[in-house]
């Protein structure tokens, strides 16, 4: 039951979550590691997750956002859950053969989006709270209401963060 539920969640959200992480981080290897950690934490906590005031989609985005916060705050961000999984199963999540091909394909795709590259670099210089709302609003096309749910903030706070973030971004460009 848990496996089936997780399997559905994984299939439905993996690409979206990887995309969200990659759009913010801009690095394939780090995005892959954070995506792994996100889904492992989702798997570990799926039993305790209850559909109360938040949908599965927002819940997964929230985990991914928290993992990215940890990545940005800690220089030595560690893959705790992923390492536990590798130790317990002997299963290496990273396949070196496919990694290089995927990385190249993604880098080629990124090169087609010059404006995104320029804006993404500038956004990374903003405070984390501003980065989060701008990335969710303009990279992931999420509404203010959805962003508020994901970040567990009030809609007014999200609007304010977005406004101030754009002001700061404008001064950088």
């Amino acid at each position: 039951m848990i496996l089936t539920r997780f399997s559905i969640i994984f299939d439905n959200y993996y690409t979206a979550i990887f995309s969200y992480i990659f759009h913010r981080i801009g690095d394939y290897d780090t995005a892959r590691d954070i995506a792994s950690e996100t889904f492992l934490k989702a798997f570990i906590n799926i039993r305790s997750f209850k559909w109360k005031n938040i949908s599965v989609s927002f819940w997964i985005y929230r985990i991914a956002t928290n993992e990215m916060r940890q990545h940005f705050r800690k220089k030595n961000f560690s893959l705790e859950s992923a390492n536990m999984l590798i130790d317990s199963t002997g299963w290496d999540i990273v396949d070196p053969k496919t990694t290089n091909e995927e990385k190249t394909a993604l880098e080629n795709e990124v090169q087609k989006h010059a404006d995104y590259i320029m804006i993404q670099k500038k956004i990374k210089l903003l405070p984390l709270s501003h980065q989060e709302v701008i990335a969710l609003r303009y990279f992931e096309r999420r509404s203010i209401k959805e962003i508020a749910k994901i970040l567990n903030k009030r809609e007014g706070t999200v609007k304010s963060l977005l406004f101030r973030g754009i002001q700061k971004l404008k001064r950088m460009l």
């Binding site: 990887f18 759009h23 889904f39 590798i86 199963t89 999540i93 496919t98 795709e109 609003r137 460009l173």
Partner: protein
Amino acid sequence: MNTDDLEKKLENLSTPEMPPMAHQWQLKLAILNAKKSARAALWLMLIPVIVLGSGMLHSVLNASIPPWSWMQEYLPQLPVWIRFGIFSMIVIIIPLIAVLLNLLSIIWLQYDKTKHILHISIRMRPVNIIIIVIAGLLALLFIGHTIADYLAGTG
């Protein structure tokens, strides 16, 4: 650039699309495998191994070793169909469950509806494969034995 222009630019910003990634499959297999089905299956396989091992020791050493000695003591009191059921459970059904659990832990199937392709991923994990082979052989041996017995009895 003023705020409106920047907002407009951001609204129309085109972001990179994610190509299909093998990492998705690898990660999913790894997470689902974490249920440690191999360990559970190993315990399942131990049941027939212990029963048959004690039976072999009994015939070689002529010693009363459980669980074989218990079976010798209590099984004859039961009707034939119950005896057959218990025997089948120990030497056929339990090993087959071990095979199934291990197969499920190393095989992942997904049907790509858009391309009409069935993806089959098999993780080459020695522990699981060894359990599948041993438990499978054990079950096959006794299925063969049961069929042979049946044919000899009716022939």
